[in-house]
Symmetry: D2
Subunit: 411 residues, 4 copies
């Protein structure tokens, strides 16, 4: 009987198919909640490889289950949606859809999870237990995972022992990176509408100026990170948008601010939300505003906080398989909704990253200190992982990590 | 031979016609530069009354000239355009045009100047000299007067000895108000575009945040009026609009501010424009902005500064005719382009106001301190002068003021 | 019988004495509430000239009363105190007292009022009625006039029909300047103490930073003049002092701001005081301050608002006597406590200014636009009125103004 | 031959003496650069125990050298100075000096290093190599370590292989805490003097207001931490002091800010210093300041960045000796000048902390979330480590750590 890791020796048999699938997927990106073609392609393959397949979970979500005797149940997740960005990579397999692009690498995630599913399916002698392959829609809008849960995911799948997910990021292709504890921030958007009393620009004394009020709020919001949060506690508060008035000589009635915050503990998150409200109210009072401000929290993403034991187990497996290419991952200020699923199911999880940059280009950029200026990052119209060894590494990472629970005698 | 003031005893002969004309004009408002119907109605009447008429001056402007022997030349000006405001007065003769309204009272100005022209035409025995009746388009956009000048106004009319204009404002109908020296402010709009370097909201350290920069500029602009202008020198600086970004989690590349300033001397105007530029540059520097801000001045209105001698002469004539209804006018923070014409022609001028509010309502509002809360002002969708005695007063004011130059033996 | 104005022909008989007295007074300045020597010199002379003299009124105040038959009672006031400033004029009669100087010209006021008293005393045939010569201490500290009132002034003097005062200011010596209505601002100082919670500078998250709070209050206070007060209404708000903390790395517990405001109507004054409080409270709330701020108003000076009829009567008398040297006075942003007396007594008043600058130097500075850079103003260590025609003009102004009530047949 | 760790079994023989010495030292605190008595007590003991003793190094510094055959050279450092704080602990052995107190625990450091020196001296059979016991003055003022270096320290001692230091902090007594990499921040103070142009508070238009300028700088400085530093990079910028003006109605000529910053990389430190300068200059420009601001950096403390290998070696030794009482140390925002010595000598170093709080009180405070409100921290007038097991633990920690280099066969 082959070992779980031995499965990977067979990667060459699927390489060409996987690459063709990936190119096709990259060329046909679909926006959040519209992943119809992608889901079809995924479901068809899973069925062909013997998975029990559930489609339309949470809209366009697909779940494949492969039961292979007693043992642990491992959930692996890939997200499927693309972004409303026009591709500018010039790739031969660039997006054929106007202003839609796989600019966040979800096509890599789908291709790798499919590859791992295929290898596990064709080497059932090498492991035992149950594999759940979860293809999630709408990660970019933050509601895809919740959508699958709301649609009854818990009743469809056996309860996992562990949940795994990965993301391709700038970094040398071929490397895998893990981190225990907080790894992705929680994120919340906040809309503040402050009220003045409009009037003619030449008679400010008859008005309450909401432009000045909004500006003072923007200024004061800077004090939250600068003064209220411990220096060793990462936190971000960005005012991404400010809008008030339309003419130079009319003082408007209101101003609207759109904020985004990133935190790594629920305590800090609550503190910052409370401070935002306190500041909006205090400044409105100081302006003599005729009405309390409206404060609305939206587009919330959960904290991704990797389980210590699970991450250690994956890191050990990665170190054995990838050697020096298994690296520590830095804390990211990005956010994800993956953790909604294990959190709802009460399952420990870990989330790692894989590099997607040409290793030589990466090494040069690190050497020259030009990583941020020369390496296109996720959400850039120029973001394009090198196909290999990215696909092989992402496929192997899933098999190796799952193997830490599924290899005979691994419990 | 009747006296000039005696002309006004004949007002009753034109009252009904003038009121009908006014109601029709109010019902058919036309936006700036589109005063075609209005101009036609005006030109037809002027011709009928014996004026030499020039049409299409500066687009839709109309000039009527009535020569009546030796003597002074008096230019009287009315503006013709309406505003993009939907009327809400409920008047029987309310606007029939969607979202267009004579909300600034220019229909009163036109009706009064036509009335004065008619009376002067039919009582040529009572005065001598030349009357120039100038019907100007596009006062609201600030370019109507300049348009007439650019179109050769100076070559069409004899050089005036004096230029006169009036405006209906909240105040007891029946009153006329004069003021020597500055009476309306100059006005300028300024667009400031400041540059940051955009990026993801979770990575502010890789960006230069133009939202924070714009907010700090708004805050600092308050110091110009508060600290740099003498307390006894009226000045206003309003930021009517601020716009930056469209999403909470994307730091945008730039922010745009639209400012409006009002001043009463050219020195203060230049000081404030220089301070605005200094602040925009200093704050951009303090933010580490990658590019100098762009600063564009637009929609400039000139200072209206009444000639001392001319105003005194009109005030004496008003006092004789209107008695206690001739009052001092307060300094206004509004702006006008009327003075462009006399300034270009090198002619002294005065600009007065007439009340348009029901006298009892006005007296009550003054008594109760509720003028600003109960009396609709110009540019309000509820602004509607009482027809009389407003039209009679505005007509008489023009005849009386002109008479100060045209009455036999007045020089 | 000579006319009142005719009295002034006799000025030459007192000129030398007055100048000697002035030089001596200038050389011996006394601080507020310490005007002992000055009061003695004044009282001795008044007695010699037949005045009923009251000394020690409100500390060092002196009141002289000269009754001269039926007629109006005219109160004239001069202030006596000097400033804690070291004289740098280099005058032959410069201050002999270290760091004390008549830098505000009160010595001129005293000398002129004494001169007028002497002339009126020696020409009792030329007028009838009662003269009250009031020499007030402690104008600079704002409490001298109230001190005299509190000490029973109303019971000592007959009720005046009018109260008069004057001040020497930069301007051509020989000129007198009047203004109806508000002429000097009211003034108030405000101390704001805001509370934070101190701590180590490296742990801001455990503190509430009062330095940031105080800075934001300073910034926001600029919006009162810039946005809340009508542009045509003069008003000033200065933060003259800010103090918080003593070490770079200790976040202090509190910060103290000292404000000064100048207004010309009681309504504006109350509005600004309310806005200051609203802002201090709103900003403290926005900072999460552990305690409400303390707000203390101190050093209040009243508004000096000249009576219209009284000022017109004085202006007519000045025009007759001084001709082209009688000028309109500009609104001043300085403050005075003179009006406390007539306000308490229910008496109409006027307050005028006289020029103290060499007329040629003044004309040149006006021509060159260098008034502010070359002419030392009151409170400068270089302030020194030219002795003549300043003393003669100030003396004449008092006699002429008083004469408008005291000349036979003037009522 | 006993093992190094075995030395510690003999601690009981020195306990009473050490405690008596500590009580005496606590009762006789000495300010920075004035540690005369302390140095005498230390030097006398070191000599008695066979050390080669150098006194007066860098003022009051003491160096003891104990050579014990071939082997590594280990430098151990204790700081000796107290703080200008009045003790409020009520301890029987409280400070006998007015307003001076060992409020930072340096007395613990001295007692423990002396204890370790004594034990190592009396058990020379258990180790080999050289021990350098360095008693440093003036840590609180940041110049004690540099003073010893400037006074020739390098020529007095053999070059160490490793340098060790420790600090007592709030935490359960009995615990020792280590951390590789940055452990204490670098610190810099910055004095900014900004220039306005003073004048009377009622005439702001003739001035440049430095109070408003300083306030706007304080406000804008908040954006450095909030926007310019990566969220995962700890950094602090505090404005501990702001001072301008002395009277409410005088606009002063200048304002002075005192800042303190804490950083954990030299790159961040340089970035922040550059940003401070950029902001001070940009805001001065925006205010129209007549002169560039002055910016002075003072009281700089170096970054304390523990060597990875050295810290790992100490942590392993601690784990063996202290078991579960060996814990990871959190990143501190405090600063120290200890690292000046090893940095100058080119020696790797580590700096650890020991707990000084009664373990039960600590456990309760952690449980209740009241650590910050109930446990007095360093620099508090209530700071008082429990004597034991603090002294024993600090003594043992030094012996154990040194033993990692000095135990036979340890290299």
């Amino acid at each position: 009987m082959s070992t779980v890791a031995g499965i990977l020796n067979d990667y060459e048999t699927i390489r060409a198919d996987q690459e063709a699938f990936y190119r096709d997927l990259h060329a046909h990106p679909e926006l959040s909640h519209e992943e119809v073609r992608t889901a079809d392609e995924v479901a068809r393959r899973l069925k062909a490889w013997g998975f029990e397949v559930h489609v339309g979970v949470g809209g366009t979500g697909v779940v494949g289950i492969l039961r292979n005797g007693d043992g642990a149940t491992v959930l692996m997740r890939a997200d499927m949606d693309a972004l409303p960005i026009g591709e500018a990579t010039g790739a031969a397999y660039a997006s054929t859809v106007d202003a839609v692009m796989h600019a966040c690498g979800h096509d890599v995630h789908v291709a790798c999870l499919l590859g791992a599913a295929r290898l596990l399916s064709s080497h059932r002698d090498a492991w035992q237990g149950t594999v759940v392959a979860l293809f999630q829609p709408a990660e970019e809008t933050g509601d895809g995972a919740r959508g699958m849960l709301d649609d009854g995911l818990a009743g469809i799948i056996p309860k996992p022992d562990v949940a795994l997910a990965q993301h391709v990021l700038p970094g040398a292709a071929g490397t895998v990176l893990t981190r225990p504890g907080p790894v992705l921030s929680s994120a919340d958007s906040v809309r503040i509408t402050v009220h003045g009393r409009g009037g003619h620009g030449s008679m400010p004394q008859k008005t309450v100026d909401p432009v000045v009020l909004a500006a003072l709020i923007v200024v004061r919001l800077q004090t939250i990170v600068a003064r209220e949060i411990a220096p060793t506690e990462p936190a971000v508060l960005t005012v991404g948008s400010i809008r008030a008035g339309s003419k130079s000589n009319i003082i408007p009635d209101e101003a609207v601010l759109e904020l985004n915050l990133r935190t790594y503990t629920e305590q800090t998150r609550r503190h910052m939300l409370a401070s935002i409200e306190r500041i909006a109210r205090g400044e409105s009072l100081a302006s003599g505003s005729p009405r309390e401000p409206e404060i609305e929290v939206y587009d919330s993403f959960p904290l991704t906080e990797n389980d210590g034991a699970v991450t250690a187990r994956v890191a050990v497996a990665f170190a054995e398989h990838f050697g020096a290419d298994s690296l520590p991952m830095e804390l990211q200020t990005a956010s994800e909704d993956f953790s909604d699923v294990p959190r709802a199911l009460g399952v420990p999880y870990t989330y790692w990253s894989i590099g997607g940059t040409d290793p030589d280009a990466w090494a040069k950029a690190v050497r020259d200190g030009t990583v941020f200026s020369t390496i296109p990052a996720n959400h850039s119209p120029l973001f394009l992982p090198v196909m290999q060894p990215t696909l092989e590494t992402g496929t192997a990472a899933l098999v190796v990590a799952a193997g830490a629970w599924l290899a005979p005698g691994s419990e």
